[in-house]
Amino acid sequence: MNSVQNFEIFAPKLIDRKEYISAGHRACQGCGEVLALRHILKALGDDVVVANATGCMEIISSGYPQTAWEVPYVHVAFENAAAVGSGVEAALKALRRKGRIADRDVKTIAVAGDGGTADIGLQALSGAMERGHDMIFFCLDNEAYMNTGIQRSSATPFMAATTTSPAGKAIPGQRTQKKNVPEIMVAHKVPYVATACPSYPIDLINKVKKAKEVKGPAYVHVFSMCPTGWRCASEITIKMGRLAVETGVFPLYEVENGKYRLTMEVPGKLRPVGDYLKPQGRFRHLGPSDIEKVQAQVIREWEILLNKVECMQPW
């Protein structure tokens, strides 16, 4: 999967040159999350309103008296981005109908980290998606509470060391498997669910544009590499995303009305998961048998996904 070759054709010509999140934001060096956000916003254009959860993207972008946002933006709290987005969407609908704002489509998007999505924000997300608001929810998943200092979330992968799932002598890191929020969204019958990664920007942009076309709820789960939290070098951010995809740790796919489709080349054999784990300090404590355990799990999940791709019919 050498997506780099494609860039000669696509990039940068097909990418909106306008920046919607300005330089001067305070994300860490090599932040994959703000890069994901940058391309999401490029794919959406001007006519959006952003409801953001408390988290890295909020803190790095909106310290009074400045904002990095070039689009209308609101932050209220940690767990309620989907609910705030619901209100924004309802208001835009009502005010447009009543002639109090311009008569054109404006898309509401909600943005949260993995904690604000899979943990504390899950209820609000479930409610908003079930109610069918015309809204895209973006989970920018860096696999832990990075904003507060790398504490584990339910999206933290098996065995990963965080400050609340440390690699101890008795318990070597995260004991549980990563919660699969895209699956939960499919179970909500959300018409468009996708996974994406900024290491594959064209794929990401295409998915965001597709999500924007949906009249109703859509969910995009974006793998957001975090050199700080994963304890790896900042320059390998993009490579880490690529490795996550190529090893099958984070497969890229989309689900349109229940029909699964892989949006990555399907390798004959996945790359060994060790290639992905080894550059990251959070997996440093893993011995060969641990890596085998992770490998077995990744293959099992991958096969389940392939099975769905093959068997699931659209609604």
Binding site: P12, G24, Y64, Q66, I238
Partner: protein
């Protein structure tokens, strides 16, 4: 290049000068904050090797690499945090990172 947008006339503000609800009316005004001071190394581009693919522009988390004349790309060092992604991802090897002191 990020535009410079100014909203605050003076800083710090008195209590009655703070915008209601801490709203910020100048979009993109974070550009007033120069993150260039964060970097310990800076990207150097050898235009002879550059094929103008723009991958450095695409993968820059700061959005500080922009196209300049003749289709080459250049990092705005006012904002570049020196993460090194551009050098790492530049497959023709046109970008290298240099320590700031050098």
């Amino acid at each position: 290049m990020a535009k410079k947008k100014t909203e605050q006339k003076k800083w710090p503000e008195k209590w009655h000068e703070v915008n209601p609800g801490c709203m910020v009316f100048a979009a993109g005004s974070a550009a007033n904050y120069k993150t260039g001071s964060w970097k310990s190394q800076r990207p150097l581009t050898d235009n002879a090797k550059c094929i103008k693919c723009g991958i450095c522009y695409i993968f820059c988390p700061e959005a500080c690499i922009q196209e300049v004349k003749d289709g080459f790309f250049e990092a705005n060092l006012d904002y570049c945090k020196g993460c090194g992604i551009c050098a790492h991802e530049c497959w023709p090897g046109a970008i290298v990172m240099r320590e700031e002191e050098e």
